[in-house]
């Protein structure tokens, strides 16, 4: 939970790559075990994670079905003209497990990290990219401002929708084109508001001496702590185990 966001970002990335790089039963077992340990450590309630899986349930089923029925190979069971192959079962199984791990893995990161931390992590983590003229600071600053204005503009959207409804606007019914047209009374004021806010904010930032990333100090500089190094070590161990498992296989 209190890990440096850089660790979490990189860790998630490593984990996702590992899922695609190795696919055999042993490595998936290791991956599953690893995930279980992390879930335990992160203290995110299990029910939360299961809830996160809900929206993809249908997708999962769909994927499993497709791979189950459409993978060619040795026949296993046959009902009428539908046949299930051994390979089909295998691929479907792998697919399902991989998908579930992937989603749990990535949602774990979002559960334990606030978007703000993520922004910080990104800015620092991408630091080396600055050398090749990627405006890392600007991207991070932009993300942070976007995050700040999402709730504000969301509230504004709600207000405008209500105000236009009071003038008889109808956002609910009609076909695609009518619906698109009905959005104009919502979108134009929203744009105008966003631009007005942007103008104000840019002025306020300059009034507070903002002049880009150069020469800035940080109020909360990110520093690796002991537990961050331990986490890195864990990832190395995890990766080695995977390679070993692949070799044995």
């Amino acid at each position: 939970h209190r890990l440096d966001p850089r660790v979490k970002l990189l860790g998630t990335l490593i984990y996702i790559i590992s899922l695609f790089a190795f696919h055999n039963i042993a490595s998936y077992l290791i991956a599953g075990l690893f995930l279980a340990v992390i879930i335990h450590l992160s203290k995110v309630p299990f029910s939360y994670i299961v809830k996160g899986l809900k929206p993809i349930l249908f997708l999962l089923l769909f994927t499993v079905m497709f791979n189950l029925f459409l993978t060619p190979g040795q026949e296993f069971v046959r009902v009428g003209f539908i046949k299930i192959t051994l390979e089909g079962i295998k691929t479907a199984g792998f697919m399902a497990v991989r998908l579930i791990f992937l989603i749990i893995g990535s949602s774990l990161m979002t559960f334990t990290t606030t978007p703000n931390h993520l922004t910080d992590g990104l800015e620092k983590g991408m630091g080396p990219l600055r050398k090749i003229h990627v405006p890392v600071h600007e991207i991070a600053m932009m993300m942070s401002i976007a995050l700040r204005f999402i709730p504000i503009l969301l509230e504004e959207t709600d207000k405008i929708m209500k105000a236009q409804s009071a003038r008889g606007a109808d956002f609910e019914t009609g076909g695609l084109i009518k619906k698109a047209k009905s959005l104009i009374p919502l979108l134009v004021p929203l744009f105008v508001s966003a631009f007005r806010r942007a103008n104000d904010l840019a002025m306020a930032m300059e009034a507070r001496c903002y002049r880009g990333g150069e020469g800035r100090t940080k109020m909360k500089p990110l520093a690796y702590k002991k537990r961050d190094w331990i986490a890195y070590l864990c990832f190395i161990v995890y990766w080695t185990l995977l390679i070993l498992a692949a070799k044995i296989n």
Binding site: G52, F62, S106, P115, M143, A146, I184, L201, Y210
Partner: protein
Amino acid sequence: MAKKTSLLVITALMAALTCIATMVITIPSPMNGYIHLGDGLVLLSGILLGPIYGGMAAGVGSMLSDLLLGYPHYALPTLVIKAFAAIVGGIIYNMLVHKSFCKKYHLIPLIAAGIGGGIIVTGGYFIVASILFGEGVAALSSVPGNLLQNLFGIIVSCILMPVLTHVPAVKSMLAREA
């Protein structure tokens, strides 16, 4: 006021708008998430802000909406795909908008840009789905939803653009681009 700060903030606000457009007007579809207005905003970001900043706004905004809506596994591909779509859309629009025949039918560059961006989005998500769910039909199932979304995006942009260009703030921005 320094242009840089102002452009940075406008990009951030466009990202916030993109995120909201993706989140607010959603019709859940069981196949691949939801139909929303996000693609329209991706397109407009590319057009209003130009390829670089538009790409940033579109990518980041869409990614944030994935994170906030609980589709974190899509976040990274979304960032890349939507950014790329906005870039392509922006470039196509800027290429066509000064052509003489487009002066008469000012929707042509917009539609062309929308189609360009749409191809990127649909193709991009197809590739992602192929990696996630295996190649073939399962991945293909993402296509119709994305196409519909793009169509919706293009329609909204076509209706919105002419009205937006009358808004002073937007007008001055388009003038600066030119």
